[in-house]
């Protein structure tokens, strides 16, 4: 069976693409063989996993693909159940578009802020263009770093209704454990009690992704 391919994209930096990719992949790896494809020249996914130790390795392999993304993904599709592509924070190079062209689903992490919303308008257009050649692509917005006590966070659903793509019901809260796990080269699944709430929300997200 061919792997399901999930891209994590947003042309704006700092929205949590790598954090989402790493934790999503860690959760998916509990369900089937998973590979992270680091398509971002900054190489953050590789750096993250590289910080783990031999005693506590990151549970998913990371490869960096510098070119021929489509070819490499089609080759790897046969060996894995899930491929997670961490896209670069730009639309200018065409890499994010290439990733979406070969993906089943693309997730767009958006922070609860006006600037992030505005930046995503352009991405929504790019996704529409990609859908011309990949009609099976499903795109979902994911609110990242949600703060329940913030009025801005609570107002997001009204603004997201302006987009032509759905937002996932799941969202990731703003939690220190996401940043701390990166520093240790781990996913939130390996953070013990500190990571429990984060694991719960990642699990909820994965269930939604796999059933949507």
């Amino acid at each position: 069976m061919l792997a399901q391919v999930f891209s994590v994209a947003n042309q704006k930096g700092g929205t949590g693409k790598t954090t989402l990719s790493m934790n999503l992949a860690a959760g998916l790896s509990r369900r089937g063989r998973t590979l992270i494809i680091d398509a971002d020249p900054q190489g953050s996914a590789g750096q993250w996993a590289g910080l783990s130790t031999d005693e506590r390795p990151f549970p998913v392999s990371v490869i960096s693909v510098a070119s021929n993304l489509a070819r490499e993904v089609s080759r790897m599709r046969q060996d894995y159940q899930y491929l997670v592509i961490d896209c670069p924070p730009t639309l200018e190079t065409g890499v994010a578009q290439s990733a979406m062209t070969i993906s089943d689903k693309v997730f767009i992490p958006i922070l609860p802020s006006p600037v992030d919303l505005w930046a995503s308008v352009r991405l929504a257009d790019a996704i529409d263009q990609v859908k011309i050649s990949n009609s099976r692509l499903q795109a979902y917005i994911l609110i990242n770093q949600l703060e329940l006590r913030s009025a801005m966070s609570r107002s997001m659903s009204q603004a997201l209704a302006e987009f032509d793509m759905p937002a996932l019901q799941s969202c990731l809260r703003r939690r220190a454990v996401y940043r701390n796990s990166a520093l240790e080269g781990l996913s939130v699944y390996c953070m013990g009690k500190r990571g429990e709430s984060a694991v719960q929300e990642v699990e909820f997200l994965i269930e939604e992704i796999l059933t949507s």
């Binding site: 996993a49 960096s64 006006p114 919303l117 263009q129 009025a151 997001m156 603004a159």
Partner: protein, 56 residues
């Protein structure tokens, strides 16, 4: 308060959408329909297109 802020946010998204350049449908169709084999010959593979970064 939340509702008012939500309306403001929604309005700002509408404005951002309105400011987007018009989509060039013809260009998109041309790209989608272009015969890849003739117009874009395969480039030779670079020596290391894939690099396993974790585990080493």
């Amino acid at each position: 308060m939340t509702k008012e802020l939500g309306s403001k946010l929604a309005n700002s998204v509408r404005q951002a959408k309105a400011k987007q350049p018009q989509k060039n449908t013809t260009d998109a169709q041309q790209v989608a329909e272009a015969p890849l084999s003739k117009a874009e010959p395969e480039l030779p593979l670079p020596p290391l297109p894939v690099r396993r970064v974790w585990p080493d």
